[in-house]
């Protein structure tokens, strides 16, 4: 019962944040210097045409009314239409989000598989050669920007192995092998920086737990070391790790902008970037609102998961 009311309260608490996000995005888009209608019309801009376009897009209305028209549409799933192509924004976001989500999940799985075991090993073998090696790898993971890593990987593959990573996207259900071929390197690049942060957090978190009295007690009772590590230390160390994972997934949603651009993947990140370059307000507003909302939901999910992992967290 407590759990349910906690979840309801947490879900309710994100509503003002979502409203705030929508207002901020809307206001940001209003500050674009210059008249957006003149930019869109270019050399064809005449006063009549500009007025006609303003009326068509509702830019002649007061700000609050423009916001209301936009947000009431968003609530019922109408994110507006692209100023450049006329295509509806939401279907485009959803179709591109499939790719971005697949890439994010793929990158996260790679990062978890690499980082959590290595983080635990580093903590258990503290100050030994393997710990130092793992710490260097994790530090490189957080210090090498994904665009630099992508460039280096492409360079090494092309110069050393004469292999050029394929560009473009093939759907997972269309051709799983080609899908994997296209997403493996981008996911590795995205996963590397995430792995660095998780590895560091896992190491320090396990180290902290290993110094607790109950670990000493468990060892004193003669419990086998790997049992102590995985049954007693690891589970308790996971809580701060989960925070980092939650935050990193959110950042990945933003980080895909660069990776999608490098590997020519038609995901949500590329959609935002194209929208920004073309000053396509409905596209930018809609997709940033969508990504920011996803970010908020992921953090909410992490918050709720805390309770299941750590019974000491109170739901009151």
């Amino acid at each position: 019962m407590y759990v349910l009311s906690y979840i309801v309260r947490r879900v309710a608490s994100i509503i003002p944040v979502l409203i705030g996000i929508s207002i901020l995005i809307f206001l940001i888009m209003q500050v674009i210097p210059g008249d957006i209608v003149s930019i869109l019309l270019g050399t064809e801009a005449t006063p009549e045409l500009k007025e006609q376009m303003r009326e068509e897009f509702g830019y002649n209305l007061p700000l609050y009314q423009q916001y209301w028209n936009w947000i009431s549409g968003v609530v019922v799933g109408d994110f507006g239409h692209s100023l450049r192509t006329g295509a509806a924004v939401l279907p485009e976001i959803l179709s591109r989000f499939t790719l971005t989500l697949e890439l994010t999940i793929f990158a996260s799985v790679i990062a978890w598989i690499i980082s959590i075991p290595l983080g635990v090993i580093a903590a258990v073998r503290r100050n030994k050669g393997s710990d130092i090696g793992i710490r260097v790898i994790s530090l490189l993971g957080v210090s090498v920007p994904n665009f630099a890593l992508a460039t280096i990987i492409i360079l090494v593959l092309s110069l050393q192995f004469n292999y050029f990573p394929p560009v473009g996207y093939v759907g997972l259900f269309e051709d799983p092998i080609r899908n994997l071929e296209r997403l493996l390197i981008p996911a590795l690049v995205l996963g590397a920086s995430m792995a660095g942060s998780i590895m560091r957090m896992t190491r320090s978190s396990v180290l902290e737990v290993l110094e607790q009295d109950y670990i000493r007690t468990a060892r004193a009772k003669g419990i086998r070391e790997h049992f102590v590590i995985y049954r007693h230390a690891f589970r308790n160390a996971l809580i701060p790790v989960l925070t980092v994972i939650g935050m990193q997934i959110g950042f990945l949603l933003g980080g895909t902008v660069i990776v999608e651009q490098i590997f020519s993947l038609p995901g949500l990140g590329q959609y935002v970037l194209t929208g920004i370059m073309q000053r396509d307000i409905p596209v930018v507003q809609g997709s940033i609102l969508f990504i920011a909302s996803m970010f908020v939901f992921v953090n909410l999910l992490v918050d709720i998961l805390y309770g299941f992992l750590n019974p000491r967290i109170s739901y009151d």
């Binding site: 944040v17 530090l139 490189l140 665009f147 280096i152 360079l155 902008v257 660069i258 920011a292």
Partner: protein, 277 residues
């Protein structure tokens, strides 16, 4: 400060980071003396030259000296880092102090605004801001600075709330110290350690953010040198001229690595709980 340097001397990794950061600062400060050519001068007859005695790290597709562009790029990176973090840390410090000290309604308003700012993935918020302000050096610094505001506000607020409960604060208030005096004389000095650590770590994030924005074509605009945009423009011909990609990548990674090493070390030194680890 003396104690800090004594401790830093014992911490080899931190020392490497510190020396690396100082090296980058030195390069940035004395760029005109170190660079062998003008960073924007085009030597049309020497396009895509591999490293040689005249052009130490080779030339790019427009015949510009890569070494000189990287050296001047250090200046740009540092300037963006310092000013952007200055904006974020300055506003964040003020907001965090007000929210944490006065609490109540003002705290609620400030923190809800921060919740909204915090709800954006960093790069996306910076992208949106640069997109509306227009891509150039000044706007890149403003955009990255805004991204940092919620991080600093949250950190300062939580530190202030902890310090505010200390006896010496109530003692100062009971003998009639004004709010301003309590904040400036008693709270501020006691929250500086985590603030300083966050500032160092934020510097590396700011440099990374600038490089990322420039890589996407939304940061520093040509012909001004930026490591991110150098790396981006190298992608078109890097199989032919790998040096155009390798050296900017090395400079970016080296700088971020050094700031991270220094930040980590600073955190360990200033946090008594971590010091023994």
């Amino acid at each position: 400060m003396g104690a800090f340097f004594r401790r830093l001397r014992k911490d080899k990794v931190g020392l490497i980071g510190f020396i690396g950061v100082m090296l980058i600062v030195f390069i940035g400060l004395f760029a005109p003396l170190i660079a062998t050519h003008s960073p924007t001068e085009m030597f049309n007859e020497y396009r895509l030259q591999s490293p040689n005695s005249e052009f130490w790290l080779g030339t790019d597709d427009l015949g510009r000296d890569i070494f000189s562009r990287l050296i001047y790029g250090a200046r740009v990176s540092l300037m963006v880092g310092i000013i952007a973090v200055g904006i974020g840390a300055g506003i964040g410090l003020a907001c965090g102090l007000i929210a944490g000290f006065f609490q109540g309604r003002i705290d609620n308003i400030i923190m809800r605004i921060m919740d909204v700012l915090f709800a954006f993935p960093d790069l996306l918020l910076a992208l949106a801001i640069v997109a509306i302000l227009g891509p150039n050096l000044k706007n890149t610094m403003i955009a990255i600075g805004i991204v940092f505001i919620p991080v600093f506000t949250r950190l300062v607020r939580s530190s202030v709330i902890t310090v505010k409960e200390m006896d010496y604060i109530s003692n100062a208030q009971s003998i009639g110290a004004s709010n301003k005096r309590v904040i400036v004389k008693h709270i501020l000095p006691n929250i500086l350690a985590p603030f300083l650590v966050q500032t160092t770590l934020a510097l590396s994030s700011a440099i990374l953010a600038e490089a990322s924005l420039s890589f996407l074509g939304l940061g520093i605009q040509p012909p001004d040198p930026s490591w991110g945009s150098m790396l981006n423009s190298s992608r078109r011909f890097m199989e032919l001229a790998p040096w155009t990609a390798i050296f900017p990548a090395i400079f970016i990674v080296f700088t971020i690595l050094c700031f991270n090493l220094l930040g980590d070390s600073l955190r360990d030194l200033l946090d008594p709980r971590l010091r023994k680890k």
